[in-house]
Amino acid sequence: MRLFLAVVVCKVLRFIGGLIGKGSSLPGQFALKVCPNVLGRVKLPEHIIAVTGSNGKTSTVEMIAAILNASGKKVVYNKEGSNQIEGVTTLILSNCSLGGKMRGDVLLLESDERYARHTFKWFHPTHFVITNLYRDQLTRNGHPEWVYDAIKDAVFPETTLVLNADDPLVSCFAKDHDPAKVKWFGLDECSISTKEHHGVYHDGARCPVCKGRMEYACYHYAHIGHYSCPSCGHRRHDTDFAVTALDLKEGKLTINGETEISLAFKSIYNVYNILAAWSVCALAGADNAAMAGVINNYMLKNGRMITFRLGNHRGTLLTSKHENSVAYDTNLAYIADTGKPCTVLVIVDAISRKYFTGETSWLWDIDFDRLGCEHVQKVMLYGKYCNDLAVRFKYSHVPADKIEVGESIATAAEYLKENGDEDVYVVTCFSDRDKLLSLVERD
């Protein structure tokens, strides 16, 4: 009876919420009050796929849904990104019959890395994809090992883990797990691999198991690569699913030596997201041709690149995430690769839109040296924390005479509107991007 009531409450609130445009976690929150163990009582589909990790969750989930839909499976997933237990409850109950049976063949969940243990207390995923763990929103997340421990509590023996073999910390999830229930994906040594580590900090310098000095045969980016620990033997596992060839400039990759894929977005992160999606979809029974058909030139809906015009400038806003140096580094690398004369505008105004903090230490984890190239003609540092940015840039390779500092984003936009016609790249966060986008002509 409580189950029935919880489903009804959720559906009614969801309907009303839909009418007034309210968030997706409230109905689940009420349903959990009516029936706290509701998630343990509903009948879920055969496949329950969860995706977690620091970066790439949303994109990976979107591609998994597209592939499985194209393979004829009905996929229910949290495309609104409400990835804590209340949002997941709303999602499941909204798609349930009044008898408590969820419709669909696959339940697909983007799972918040810290809250997965609460959600999966009641049901366990059949497949758990873990993409990567690095410094991300440390004001909330503590640090990558803290997040690792939180996810570890959400790993259950019957779940098949789908792990990024190239991430030494993610690989640790396999330690106490039945080896038959661990599948590995990774990138072979290829055109983008380097012998040297790149970046301001190196979270793979020490083995996550024994803290001995880690050795790398090659790096793909940050601490992601082919590692082995001479002290304890922790090493990159052989892969079940691999990108065997990659040409990022051409935008082509090959999976398992046989399927060639064209990339709509030529970034290494896109490569890993595709590979993660491919791996779990293959495990869920999708066939190669169907997968390749969907993934080829796949344009992400949650695009983080926005083009605009401002005066005589063609502008591109590259959405980074404050408090996430890897997201910043991706975009800085993109700008460095363009090779065309440009101005770069970096905005740090509100560090988060969800909570208050004045924490700026993450600026020191970003590799701003990447902007120290000739074609970057000017770097404009704007927003409330422009002075913190300016101090950080004094320790970068960007010459002081290329740097301009100011608080008002409107002033920056006004200046650009009146001066010059070179390309403009804007690097900032979701929390700050509308402050500029409201002042430009969107394409």
Binding site: P208, T357, S361, N387, D388, K394
Partner: protein
């Protein structure tokens, strides 16, 4: 004027950008005409504490901190000798905990500390990631920054900060924070605390000059944007408070 900074375990005890503390101190000293050498030591090295004028370590994960402690323990006599001759020491984040008698981790295991201070630390299952405004009697302006700790440090004889108006102290919310004894300074503030607080840098420079018996200029260098950044953070955090 020559000076040596010893940066302990920069490859892994720099979880929140703490390496910047060494860079900013170095740049201020260089602006005063001091020739600065920065030595680093990894776990596998014997740190050259004997020749160090300033010794720094930042924060790490709880597991890395234990490894750092194990690496440093064999060198504690050398570290003690350096402290006795007046070397200025700054340990920030959970590096502070290593100076004490022990760290008891969240599983209940007790790790003996360096024993250079008389406090003991208990790790907790909860983290306290918080913005901080801290007040000390050693200089006038408040210190601002962030902490990302999961521990309580008990029985600190003399705290560095008498009180916090924002943040979690050694034992309680807004309580006394950090530790000071002679030229040894420790605080659980994480990240580039010296970058954020130019007066803290100036205070350390005065101590270093006193130990070296160098003549201190009337005014210390003010580097661009640092004080402006500090003022913005003070205003933001005070407004929040």
């Amino acid at each position: 004027m020559e000076l040596t900074i010893l940066h302990l375990y920069p490859d892994c005890m720099s979880l929140y950008g703490e390496y910047a503390n060494v860079m900013v101190l170095r740049r201020h000293l260089e602006a005063m005409g001091v020739a600065v050498t920065v030595e680093t030591a990894l776990f596998e090295d014997t740190p050259d504490v004997e020749h160090a004028d300033f010794i720094y370590m930042g924060a790490g994960t709880e597991r890395t901190q234990k490894a750092a402690l194990s690496a440093l323990l064999p060198h504690k006599e050398g570290l003690k000798a350096a402290i006795d001759r007046g070397a200025v020491v700054l340990f920030t984040g959970n590096a502070m905990e290593m100076l004490g008698l022990s760290i008891t981790d969240a599983m209940g295991k007790r790790w003996p500390g360096l024993g250079l201070a008389d406090f003991a630390t208990l790790e907790t299952a909860q983290r306290a990631p918080e913005d901080v405004i801290a007040h000390t009697e050693l200089w006038d302006s408040p210190v601002v920054g962030f902490m990302n700790k999961c521990s309580m440090t008990e029985d600190v004889s003399v705290p560095l900060f008498d009180r916090l108006s924002l943040g979690f102290g050694n034992e309680e919310e807004k309580g006394a924070e950090g530790y000071v004894s002679g030229n040894v300074f420790a605080t659980h503030l994480t990240g580039p605390v010296l970058v954020k607080n130019p007066d803290f840098v100036d205070f350390l420079i005065r101590r270093i000059f006193a130990v070296k018996e160098w003549e201190l200029p009337e005014t210390l260098p003010v580097l661009p944007y640092e004080r402006e950044a500090y003022e913005v953070t003070v205003k933001e955090l005070t407004g929040r408070n």
